[in-house]
């Protein structure tokens, strides 16, 4: 949560990757505090924009460097603000805040981990896989999507993960089916101790349930609109059970986006 900065970032590259957009920014100071799971809150529409809310996106990668450092996000343009972002030209200047929020918690021991990613939300799991491998954890990755164009990072994943399984609804890449269908068997076969997941709430809910049944911890990164990124506006709340058993409205941008899967009250979220 600490170490977040506000910087005027310059667009270095903005590329279409399948159904998604991959944006790389020169953003000094963001990489230093980056942990997998943290967020970047981006203004859209330029200085005279009529759009007042930030778009808060999971950070794909961040690299510190002598010339300032870069930060990358991968997203699907689903509304006008994101469509604007998908069309920005190199050297466009964007006001960004980051890294924000609570990252994925890493195991202290080298234990088998299963990472479940869906669509572009899978992007931060690649940096997570590297961190887990540094800690000598076995990393088994399940990447799911509707079709090939919506699978993100399958090639990169093969570099950092111990094993990678791709599943698409239409079978256009990998096996046909859903990550949730195969997950229980994978957890048993890999003797998973921790399951990390990023994707829509329905997937996260399914992962949390499967992890619980298997007796593994789950760490789920929720994706809901976060209009400010700083925790101020409280528009991004998710019901989460505290250690005291009391359900509270937790802010995804500040108290999350990563929550223990067994602590999130998924029904209202994934409805």
């Amino acid at each position: 949560m600490s170490g977040a900065v506000q910087v005027q970032a310059d667009v270095l590259t903005n590329k279409k990757v399948g159904a998604f957009q991959h944006l790389t920014l020169l953003a000094p100071g963001v990489a230093e505090g980056f942990r997998p799971g943290t967020l970047l809150a981006v203004t859209v529409g330029g200085p005279l924009s009529e759009r007042q809310a930030r778009r808060t996106l999971p950070i794909f990668r961040a690299r510190a460097s002598a010339y300032g450092g870069t930060v990358e996000v991968v997203f699907e343009p689903t509304e006008p603000g994101e469509s604007w972002l998908a069309a920005v030209q190199p050297s466009t200047r964007l006001d960004v805040l980051g890294p924000l929020g609570r990252p994925f918690a890493l195991p202290k021991e080298p234990v088998p981990c299963v990472l479940v990613g869906y669509d572009a939300a899978a992007a931060p799991l690649l940096a997570l896989a590297e961190k887990l491998r540094e800690r000598r954890c076995d990393v088994h990755m399940l990447l799911g999507a509707a079709s090939e164009a919506r699978v993100f990072g399958a090639l990169d994943a093969r570099r950092s993960a111990t094993s990678v399984t791709v599943l698409t609804d239409d079978g256009s890449l990998g096996s046909t089916g859903s990550v949730l269908t195969v997950l229980p068997d994978v957890l048993v076969k890999r003797k998973a101790a921790v399951v990390y997941a990023a994707g829509p709430s329905k997937i996260l809910h399914g992962v949390a349930v499967a992890a619980e049944q298997h007796g593994a911890w789950s760490q789920t990164a929720v994706s809901v609109p976060m209009p400010c990124g700083t925790g101020l506006c409280s528009a991004c709340v998710v019901p989460v059970t505290g250690a005291d058993g009391v359900v509270r409205r937790a802010r995804a941008c500040t108290d999350g986006p990563v929550f223990r899967g067994d602590r999130v009250c998924w029904e209202p979220v994934s409805a």
Binding site: Q6, E50, Q52, A53, L232, S234, A235, R249
Partner: protein, 292 residues
């Protein structure tokens, strides 16, 4: 540069006329901006008992604005005094506590306990109801029970009853009237056709807030006003002063820029200084034909 911005609201003297609006200057922003340089920071609205906001949608983006419905979510007076307020006091932020109540006894208790808490500069009473007599009674109770030296501000809804309400409240011992609470707006999701209703904030509301300040200043030229609505820049703040506000609050702009209030203050100073003007020199000047 900021030394020229000193501003007086009734018995309250602030180093600058720029505050953050209710709920828009929380300790969350402390890591991006120095809130201690601001005139004051107004907390989210606190009620006696905790209120849980809606579990469903709370936010929508509209042309040059936002709609929010937080259901006045707050931890209640007790938890606020125990947790939130000490955090603000630690950051040495000049704090005005926004408060709301249902019964007169609520107002009395909130005025006593919040007003008497260490580090509280003032109370801003948030009136959702337009009934002038009920509001006047509540405001009188807050003024009576708030400790001496604690400023009392009244934030008014901007509906058709604005002038009546302003006239009524101006005689109840408030140091300033805050104009005003957001008007309601509605969006309909183009896919699901579900509606979402919330308070409209952001630049879209600037002309409405300016007009409210203009009309109330015309009616009650001696009552200090705080203008809030759509302020993003020093020149927005200057316009609000010219329309009749003695101070301004920066609200929704902090979503886009957490340093917005601080920046507005610097920009305001940069607009006033070269002309040798202090904020008080321009208050209501638009009613006198502007700078001549």
């Amino acid at each position: 540069m900021i030394t020229t911005l000193s501003t007086t609201l009734g018995d309250l003297t602030l180093p600058t006329p720029v505050m953050t609006a209710a709920g828009c200057g929380g300790p969350e922003l402390g890591r991006f901006v120095d809130l201690t340089t601001l005139g004051a920071s107004v907390t989210r609205t606190i009620t006696l008992d905790p209120l849980e906001g809606p579990a469903s949608r709370r936010f929508a983006e509209t042309p040059s604005g936002i709609l929010t419905d937080l259901g006045m979510e707050n931890p209640g007076l007790q938890a606020f005094l125990a947790v939130d307020l000490p955090e603000l006091a630690k950051q040495q932020v000049r704090t005005i506590v926004s408060v709301a109540g249902h019964r007169l006894a609520d107002y009395a208790e909130i005025a006593r306990r919040a007003g008497g808490a260490p580090g509280v500069t003032g109370l801003e009473v948030c009136f959702l109801d337009e009934d002038p007599l009920a509001a006047a009674r509540a405001l009188s109770v807050v003024r009576r029970d708030a400790p001496p030296g604690v400023a009392v501000l009244a934030k008014l809804p901007m509906g058709p009853g604005l002038l009546d309400l302003a006239r009524e409240l101006s005689s109840c011992g408030a140091d300033a009237l805050v104009l005003g609470l957001p008007l309601m707006g509605l969006v309909v999701d183009p896919t699901t056709l579900a509606a979402f209703r919330g308070g409209l904030a952001g630049p879209a509301t600037a002309p409405l807030a300016l007009d409210a300040v203009w009309r109330v200043h015309e009616l009650l030229p001696d009552v200090p006003l705080v203008g809030v609505g759509g302020i993003r820049s020093g020149s927005d703040a200057l316009a609000m002063l010219a329309a009749g506000a003695t101070a301004v609050q920066v609200g929704a702009a902090v979503l886009r820029d957490p340093t917005a209030a601080h920046r507005v203050q610097l920009e305001l100073a940069a607009l006033l200084d070269p002309r040798g003007l202090k904020p008080a020199d321009v208050v209501g000047i638009a009613h006198r034909g502007g700078l001549t």
